[in-house]
């Protein structure tokens, strides 16, 4: 499906994309800030995400963000990743200007309220507990990142390395972070839905175009050195089952190997006919579930495999069995039909994802962040170009033993 859009750059440098869709009564305003957990100080992790919470605590001219938005029939949310922070508002198209007014004021400046910081520190602490402490295997993602990354800031989680970093956040940190990252030079604005481009551009100029450009943040992150030997960590925890996690270094989202890598993940762990599930859950009965996934991160990322072992299966047996499946991908070409299957799955996934106006709006912003919004319409072609030979070669290099990080997570009961 081809997504139509127009791209502009406002006088203050803010990149602005409009996507018209007159089949919906709704409109979406999406603002992406080019800042994520990777941009944090190692001693103050979790800050980009905590900051996202503070963006709802009132801006310089608007004390209450929520009420006017509700009055306009709108809803909104935001998310933070290791790479970026994204805010969106969906509302009836007639009221798009309300969204412009709200979103531009918090790009201009925040209220910086001590009370809001105090409360959101607590809220994020509860989020940390709910997702990572108060549940079995909750610490796995922390340990895997620490194992796989030694230099790059992907070594910590978006929620923060530890609770104390969040609990110690100061209002001065909040201000410094805002002025460093939240300005037109570091943002991408998208309006989508039942609007016309001319009117959207006028609104963007009116509300966003007048915000001072701010300083462009230039990222200098330490590159992760190439891993030269296999790493392994063993953990014993109060969990009911043994679990096995593997992480392999792969290229970045913009690396040309990305498409083949994504398809490899799908071949291994995507659904009931995938290789790991069929071999290790159904045939060999070593795992009760097994998955393979990645985050499509902006800097070189990880391809992860995780599964829970059937009670009584030795860890080494399970590990070896995964190794055999990975080895197969790297040592012989797969059948053309199997490659077609994962390409079809990808085509379908893209189509279903693009059904939602909100997804289209945020994806336009993300492709622009990747380098050019036009990539959104050439993505599928790049998947279709991948050959069985590329799958084999790339698998061979990704699944080298020295590129592996294994976490053996043992049940102590």
């Amino acid at each position: 499906m081809h997504i139509d859009y127009k791209k502009f750059t406002l006088s203050n440098g803010l990149r602005f994309i409009v996507h018209e869709d007159h089949t919906t009564p709704m409109a979406v305003l999406n603002v992406l800030y080019d800042v994520g957990a990777r941009d944090e100080d190692p001693g103050k992790t979790g800050f980009a995400h905590l900051f996202e919470h503070l963006m709802f605590g009132g801006s310089v001219n608007i004390k209450d963000f929520e009420t006017p938005l509700l009055m306009a029939g709108g809803e909104n949310n935001a998310f933070t990743t290791n790479d970026l922070t994204n805010y969106y508002i969906q509302l009836p198209a007639e009221n798009i200007e309300t969204a412009c007014w709200l979103e531009s004021d918090r790009m201009l400046s925040l209220a910086f309220s001590e009370k809001s910081l105090d409360v959101q520190r607590k809220v994020v602490s509860e989020e940390f507990k709910e997702h990572y402490i108060n549940r079995p295997y909750g610490d796995v993602a922390f340990k895997l990142r620490e194992l796989a990354y030694k230099q790059h800031p992907y070594r910590w989680m978006t929620i923060g390395q530890e609770l104390s970093h969040i609990e110690n956040a100061k209002l001065t940190d909040v201000k410094a972070f805002f002025f460093k990252h939240y300005n037109p030079s570091n943002a991408i604005l998208v309006m989508a839905g039942n609007i016309n481009t001319e009117k959207a551009l006028a609104l963007a100029e009116k509300w966003f175009g007048v915000i001072p450009a701010g300083e462009k943040y230039i990222r200098h992150l330490p590159a992760e050195p190439k891993q030269e030997t296999a790493r392994r960590m063993e953990v014993k925890a109060d969990v009911p089952l043994d679990a096995l996690y593997k992480a392999y270094h792969v290229g970045s989202r913009t690396d040309k190997s990305y498409y083949a890598m994504d398809l490899i993940g799908e071949l291994l762990g995507g659904g009931g006919s995938s290789r790991l599930f069929q071999s290790l859950v159904k045939e060999k009965k070593l795992f009760s579930n097994i998955e393979c996934y990645h985050f499509g991160s902006s800097d070189p990322g990880l391809l992860l495999i995780e599964g829970k072992l059937i009670k009584g299966v030795p860890m080494t047996t399970a590990d070896q069995a995964i190794g055999e499946e990975l080895e197969k991908l790297g040592s012989a070409d797969i059948e053309e039909k199997e490659l077609t299957k994962v390409k079809n799955k990808t085509e379908s996934a893209i189509l279903f994802e693009d059904m939602s106006l909100m997804n289209r709006a945020s994806n336009l912003a993300m492709y622009e962040l990747m380098g050019d919004v036009s990539f959104m319409n050439t993505e599928l072609e790049k998947y279709l170009e991948v050959t069985t030979r590329e799958i084999r070669d790339l698998s061979g290099s990704i699944f080298e033993e020295k590129n592996s990080n294994s976490l053996f997570y043992y049940s102590n009961n």
Partner: protein, 427 residues
């Protein structure tokens, strides 16, 4: 000079004319009703086949869920791998889901493959064989998943509260156990399949920009199936026997850092005249991000990452449920605040501007929720399965637009009395 202090002119969402796009109903030779929602601009199709085969109909615990899950695990001509490979080859998703009343098979696919996929969906509905080995794998894997879930306070709380509300023997209150999984037998599953799938009754919803020959396609693939069940099999309609004791504190994990809270009361089903009015009151109480529970307990006090209240989506009877996880040291304080918010709604009328805001939000999001063929089909499904017509949808909108603070306060006094609620915290 731009005035950033003043709100730009807003069109009140309550002024929007909302309409539910129509469906077209066809009845197949064998009496199966099919509802077609033919709209949408993206070439994708959704088909939802709903059987009256939820756990209300089972005589052995977990039979309904196991039968539904294993629909994809083998027919006379295809094994589990071949079935999965077939659907995945076309980039299609075939999901199954079993609830208390119904059990479903849902196909999402690209329009261009829809016709090729239908014969196999039909095959799963009539020709599944439930191999012994597949059942053994299912039991083992579900037991392991249960072992992990039992370590989560939130999971425990969700099970226990239903038991209090409906009684441990009612289908809504029954839950899984290691023993009940172990007791599952192929014979029981096959018997359930024969009675509630092969010879049971189903309703089909199909949505998307549909192919021109849709009527023929559906008739060909589903019109001759031996679905002979009555229009809706006698639901076990078991007596709801709420337990007597109202307050519970349960220790699940001595090291836990949060308490999982449920506060709930029984509530009549959608046919009760108060149901839709309660949805408006609930929206203000705990129904969304800007609700009173969120504003007070998250945004003012920081006790939790999120707190929500909702009316459960069940056919026989509903419940009003408040659900959250809060820091261990503030769990009791959180429960106290929930009751305070109930009390405020009983004692003080909702201020006019707060009510207006909430109404605009409800209508605005409803407009968004109706955006797309699958969403529209979902609305129709909810109406039809609950035995309602589109009047109900329009009455709901009128209620949102017109309900007054006095009426909501009366409703609060009727349904938000602390003494009527079950209260549970799992640590």
């Amino acid at each position: 000079m731009l005035n950033r202090k003043a709100v730009p002119e807003i069109t009140d969402a309550v002024k929007f004319q909302l309409s539910l796009p129509p469906h077209r109903k066809i009845t197949l030779r064998n009496g199966v009703d099919v509802y077609l929602v033919n709209m949408g601009t993206v070439d994708t199709v959704m088909m939802n086949v709903i059987f009256y085969a939820g756990n209300c109909y089972e005589s052995e615990n977990l039979t309904a869920a196991a039968t539904n899950f294993m629909l994809k695990n083998g027919t006379r001509s295809k094994n589990a791998y071949q079935i999965n490979d077939f659907f995945e080859y076309y980039g299609a998703y075939l999901n199954r889901q079993a609830g208390h009343e119904t059990a479903e098979l849902t196909l999402h696919c690209m329009k261009k493959h829809f016709a090729e996929l239908l014969p196999v969906v039909s095959e799963l509905m009539t020709d599944s064989i439930f191999p012994e080995e597949e059942l053994r794998i299912y039991i083992k894997n579900m037991q392991q998943r249960l072992q992990v879930n039992l370590r989560k306070n939130d999971f425990i709380a969700g099970r226990l509260i239903d038991t209090y509300l409906f009684g441990p023997s009612h289908p809504y209150g029954r839950y899984s156990s290691m023993e009940d999984y172990a007791a599952l037998q192929v014979d029981g599953v096959k018997k359930f399949y024969k009675q509630y799938y092969q010879e049971g009754r189903c309703v089909i919803f199909i949505a998307g920009p549909l192919p021109d020959n849709i009527d023929t396609l559906i008739e060909t693939n589903f019109g001759s199936l031996p679905l002979t069940g009555s229009s809706r099999p006698d639901m076990a309609n078991a007596d709801i026997l709420p337990v007597h004791e109202k307050k519970y504190r349960v220790t699940n994990d001595a090291d836990s850092v949060q308490g999982a809270i449920r506060i709930a009361r029984n509530f009549p089903n959608r046919h009760h005249p108060d149901f839709q009015k309660m949805q408006v009151l609930n929206n203000i109480f705990g129904g969304f991000f800007g609700s009173r529970l969120m504003a007070n307990i998250r945004e003012e006090k920081g006790y939790t990452y999120g707190i929500h209240s909702y009316l459960t989506n069940l056919i026989q009877e509903s419940a009003l449920m408040i659900s959250t996880e809060a820091g261990k040291d503030v769990t009791e304080a959180t429960i106290g605040e929930v009751y305070l918010e109930m009390k405020r709604l009983c004692e003080e009328p909702i201020p006019a501007d707060e009510l207006k805001t909430s109404k605009n939000f409800m209508i605005g999001t409803l407009l968004g929720d109706l955006d797309g063929p699958f969403q529209v089909a979902g609305r129709w499904k909810s109406l039809i399965l609950n035995g309602l017509t589109e009047d109900y949808f329009y009455r709901g909108i009128e209620i949102i637009k017109n309900i007054k603070p006095g009426e909501l306060q009366e409703l609060a006094n009727k349904y938000l009395n602390a003494a009527d609620f079950y209260e549970l915290a799992v640590f």
